[in-house]
């Protein structure tokens, strides 16, 4: 018998073609032997042949059976060997990594940061732009409707639509299998002390048909409960509110819940995770025709107005297209319907000027025509996080390269021993793959814990499930890890292919290496360039944020609370209203820590009021003049300066001569040539008595940070029927700490079911500052990360080069080079890389700056100071990173260095 060990070389049937040949060989041998056997018994050759065939049976059938058996066996063996090989490579890679723990740790950390940053950004982008809302049925055919109209030749597209229009568009179109209306609003929920403003979803009965979400309990409401003039007071609870408020009990059905002004009967509970189209989960969903009364009821002169007029565009419409109807066809159908509805409406601009048009957009608002700043910033941050990942990859590739250099003799030995290059490649790739997967696992941890900060910063009101339970996140991270594994493994693998066996075996440690580090230098330059890019980005956003903070809003944001007065349908006569307002102001002033308080109608960024104005200079004044009626203490409360003249006093009461304070910009605009003080302005109509301008106040920022300040004018509340709906309260310390106290104290003054909501002004302003704060924070975070990675990369390469050049350095020192010269030599090599990085990165930043300019605030994307700071930072880091190995280089002992090898 053959020796056991050589079996492998003979087992050649693994190739399908060889399987057939082996069977042929085996059968031919059999027949040759059989024929010979029968001939030896005296048969003729022909007889022997016949006998052999008779004994064998059907040859062809047997052959095909054997083939199928052997094929499936070959397949099986191949699979086993493949897995075995992989296992072996894996074990080899793990052993190698365990032997170099600090290397492994640095690599995993770098990849964890890179992959973690990307996983976090993916989660946000997925939520904003990719993932359809949960439970949405047939998401690819579901759209939001946007209506466009032209004003002054400029088209504005808006998702807001009136109920009347919604009904008509539904009636006039044929493209849709379902249309629904919805609106989200914060309403007072609950009674007594637990009353709080919470999100309530107003939806049409058809809304539920667009989702594939059977209720967790009870039922949804139907068309018989959702109709004009007023639907039924029934409510479907949101799952988490049901859990937290009602403990998930089944007996909530039939119970009542206070929403807005009225009491609703609970008929069902939406399934877990159901939010409709609003990322903020509602505590309850009510018929839109019922809830509308709670929203507008008090404000409408004619209660039926909301379903008879076309001009109240408050809700949104979403639709499901019939199969085969393209979005374009649906848009055309809608546009026709819209034009028909437009022509029928009571008051409208000529249709050829307004050019009404309708389009269907994504159900994800951020993907529709009106993309918000958040998703724009998020898209940028995706780019930034990708850059961090590229830097991490370059770094890891660099470290792996250094490792491959160090191991090239080992590799050469393996090649010499007959390990095929292909296998070697697979082994090296396995190592980088293992590192990438470990990095990805650590990256998920980074994304889970570290990403929370970012997620709450970007989408503060959205509830985030655990990332580890999110299959999309896991798939993304897995794919990212594979990409990283291939990318980082490529360089060392290519190097291994080039390894010249005999040269590597013959050479000492010092030869054949130094010139190879060109690749590594290039990788370092890339890292440096990208770091500069991110540093410039950081600079631009930090400066933007500082500009925002330095901006004079015209009031003392940190010290002001806004108190909104919610009467909740409670009717009080005007005298009682005035008394209540006076009580509120008095009570607020009496709270320790409160400095002052004032009534108000307008709230910066939230609420503004305008009115017709008339002066002697001009007949009628159009434009955005914003009106506010306030207490005499208003300017002191807000910290808004009176620039000229005086503010209001208690003497400016009802019956006293009417007075006004106007803002500086308004004064300049209305009275460019004359003094504004003492001028006469008529408010509301040109027949009312003159209001005299008695003061000019500082401008305030009230709508957005980028436009010029609004044109504001103020009148005493007492002279304008006291329409106040809120108070500003000035605190001595940080306003947000006083929120609870002020709410509790003021609530005591409120009669019956009415209540107050207290919000720090800071919080009202926050969404307007957020894009810059976010950009600054994220760029700083990612930029710091990039810098750290670049520093580690630079350090490792220079340190490595120093050890590789110790022979050369030894010679230099032996020939009389001073420590200073060696220092300059080594640090110089690090600096050269950094300078190249600065040049390239700065160039890219100059080009990219143009695109980021719209996101900046009063900062030029070419601000030279920012570029200088970024350059100096990178150069400084480069010096620091090369100083440590340089110090080591000066200590090279020529005796040792020259004798080595």
């Amino acid at each position: 018998m053959l020796p056991r060990g050589i079996r492998r070389f003979f087992r050649i049937e693994l190739d399908p073609r060889r399987v057939t040949r082996a069977i042929d060989d085996e059968l031919r041998f059999h027949f040759d032997m059989s024929v010979r056997h029968y001939m030896s018994r005296g048969m003729s050759e022909a007889d022997a042949q016949r006998e052999a065939e008779r004994r064998f049976g059907n040859v062809e059938r047997t052959r095909s059976r054997l083939e199928s058996i052997d094929r499936s066996r070959a397949e099986h063996v191949r699979r086993v060997e493949w897995w075995g090989g992989l296992l072996q490579d894996l074990r080899y890679a793990l052993r190698g990594l365990r032997a170099a723990p600090s290397f492994t740790l640095v690599v995993i950390l770098a990849l964890a940061l890179g992959i973690g940053a990307n996983a976090t950004m993916f989660g946000i982008i997925d939520r904003l732009l990719l993932r359809p809302p949960p439970f949405l049925a047939d998401a690819s055919h579901t759209n939001l409707v946007y209506l466009g109209r032209r004003f002054d030749g400029v088209e504005s597209l808006s998702p807001n639509i009136s109920y009347t229009r919604y009904v008509e568009l539904t009636k006039y179109t044929t493209s849709f299998s379902e249309t629904a209306a919805f609106f989200s609003f914060d309403l007072a929920v609950g009674t007594g002390e637990e009353t709080a403003e919470r999100r309530v979803g107003l939806v049409s009965a058809s809304f539920w048909h667009l989702f594939d979400a059977p209720p967790a309990l009870g039922r949804y409401f139907g068309p018989s409960e959702d109709h004009t003039p007023e639907g039924a007071t029934v409510a479907v609870l949101g799952y988490s509110y049901w859990q937290t408020r009602y403990g998930g009990r089944a007996d909530v059905l039939g119970k009542s819940i206070s929403l807005g002004r009225r009491t609703y009967t609970i008929v069902g509970v939406a399934p877990r995770g159901f939010v409709g189209l609003d990322p903020i989960g509602a505590v309850a969903f009510v018929p839109i025709t019922t809830g509308v009364v709670d929203i507008f009821g008090g404000g409408l002169a004619d209660v039926s107005k909301w379903y008879t007029t076309h001009n109240m565009s408050w809700m949104e419409m979403f639709v499901r297209r019939k199969p085969g109807v393209s979005p374009e066809a649906a848009g055309a159908d809608l546009t026709n319907a819209y034009r028909r509805s437009y022509l029928a409406q009571e008051k409208h601009a000529p249709i050829d000027i307004a050019r009404p048009r309708a389009v269907v957009g994504s159900v994800l608002r951020e993907r529709g025509p009106n993309q918000g700043t958040n998703s724009k910033v998020a898209t940028w941050l995706v780019g930034v996080s990708l850059i961090v990942l590229i830097i991490a990859c370059a770094n890891v590739a660099n470290l792996l390269l250094a490792r491959a250099f160090r191991r090239r003799r080992e590799i050469a030995v393996r090649v010499a021993l007959g390990v095929s290059r292909g296998r070697l490649l697979v082994q090296l790739l396995t190592e980088s793959m293992v590192l990438a997967l470990l990095g990805a696992a650590a990256g998920l941890v980074v994304a889970q814990w570290g990403g929370t900060i970012l997620r709450t910063a970007m989408l503060p009101d959205v509830e985030w499930p655990s990332l580890l339970a999110d299959s999309r996140m896991l798939i993304f991270t897995g794919v990212a890890a594979l990409g990283v594994g291939v990318l980082t493994g490529l360089a060392p693998a290519l190097l291994a292919r080039r390894t010249d066996v005999s040269a590597a075996l013959k050479a000492g440690a010092r030869e054949g290496t130094y010139h190879h580090s060109k690749t590594r230098t290039a990788l370092l330059v890339i890292q440096g360039a990208l770091s500069v890019l991110l540093l410039v980005g950081t600079g631009l956003f930090v400066r933007s944020l500082r500009q925002v903070h330095a901006l004079d809003f015209g009031y003392d944001t940190p010290h002001i609370l806004y108190v909104s007065i919610e009467m909740r349908g409670l009717k009080v006569d005007s005298l009682a209203g005035v008394a209540l307002h006076r009580d509120l102001v008095e009570r607020a002033r009496s709270i320790p820590g409160v400095q002052d308080a004032s009534l108000t109608v307008a709230v910066p960024f939230w609420m503004s009021w305008s009115n017709d104005l008339f002066t002697q200079a001009r007949d009628s004044i159009h434009g955005d003049y914003l009106f506010n009626t306030v207490s005499p203490s208003y300017f002191a409360t807000m910290g808004t300066r009176i620039v000229r003249g005086r503010g209001f006093t208690e003497a400016d009461r009802d019956g006293a001569p009417p007075v006004l304070v106007i803002s500086q910009s308004m004064a300049r605009k209305l009275f460019p040539k004359t003094d504004a003080l003492g001028q006469c302005i008529r408010v509301g109509a040109d027949t009312v008595p003159c209001s005299t301008v008695i003061g000019v106040s500082a401008d305030i920022v009230d709508r957005n940070l980028t436009d010029p300040p609004g044109l504001e004018y103020y009148a005493p509340a007492a002279q304008h029927g006291d329409g106040a709906n809120g108070l500003f309260v000035r605190t001595r310390g940080d306003a947000s700490e006083m929120t609870a106290t002020v709410r509790r104290e003021l609530q005591r003054v409120m009669p019956g079911v009415s209540y107050v909501v207290v919000t720090p002004l800071e919080k009202i302003l926050e969404p307007n500052v957020r894009p810059w704060r976010l950009g600054a924070t994220m760029f700083a975070l990612f930029g710091g990360l990039a810098l750290l990675l670049a520093a580690v990369g630079l350090y490792s390469v220079i340190a490595y080069n120093v050890t590789q050049r110790s022979h050369e350095l030894g010679v230099r020192i032996a020939l009389g080079a001073q420590g200073r010269d060696v220092l300059r030599l080594v640090v110089g090599s690090g600096l050269r890389i950094a300078v190249a990085g600065v040049a390239i990165g700065g160039g890219i930043a100059l080009v990219a700056g143009r695109f980021i300019a719209p996101l900046l605030y009063r900062v030029s994307p070419k601000d030279p100071l920012i570029y200088v700071v970024a350059a100096v930072t990178l150069l400084g880091v480069a010096v620091l990173a090369s100083l440590v190995p340089a110090m080591r280089a000066t200590r090279v002992d020529p005796n040792v260095a020259l004798r080595a090898d």
Binding site: D25, E26, F29, H30, N58, T62, L66, S72
Partner: protein, 107 residues
Amino acid sequence: MDLDLLQGTLDLLILKTLTWGPMHGYAVARWIGDTTDDDLQIEEGALYTALHRMEKRGWIDSEWGLSENNRKAKYYELTAAGRKQLRSQTDVFTRYARAVFKVLQVA
């Protein structure tokens, strides 16, 4: 004898034959033929099918070697699993044959 051999019986015969040492397919066929004086008249195609199937199951192993007359031949050899299979199948077959005999003797 035109006996429609049960699959298991053929496997059993081959495994038993291979206990004498590695053999190529032709030798297995000859051995069974000679030992039974050709009473069983086994179709040799079925024999090869059985050999390959048992190889796939891991009862026997194969390798190429040189035959007595210096030709390349595929040799089959029992594996440990094959030996185990032979032992258990021998028991089963003996019990089966004994039972059949009992019935035949009563009749």
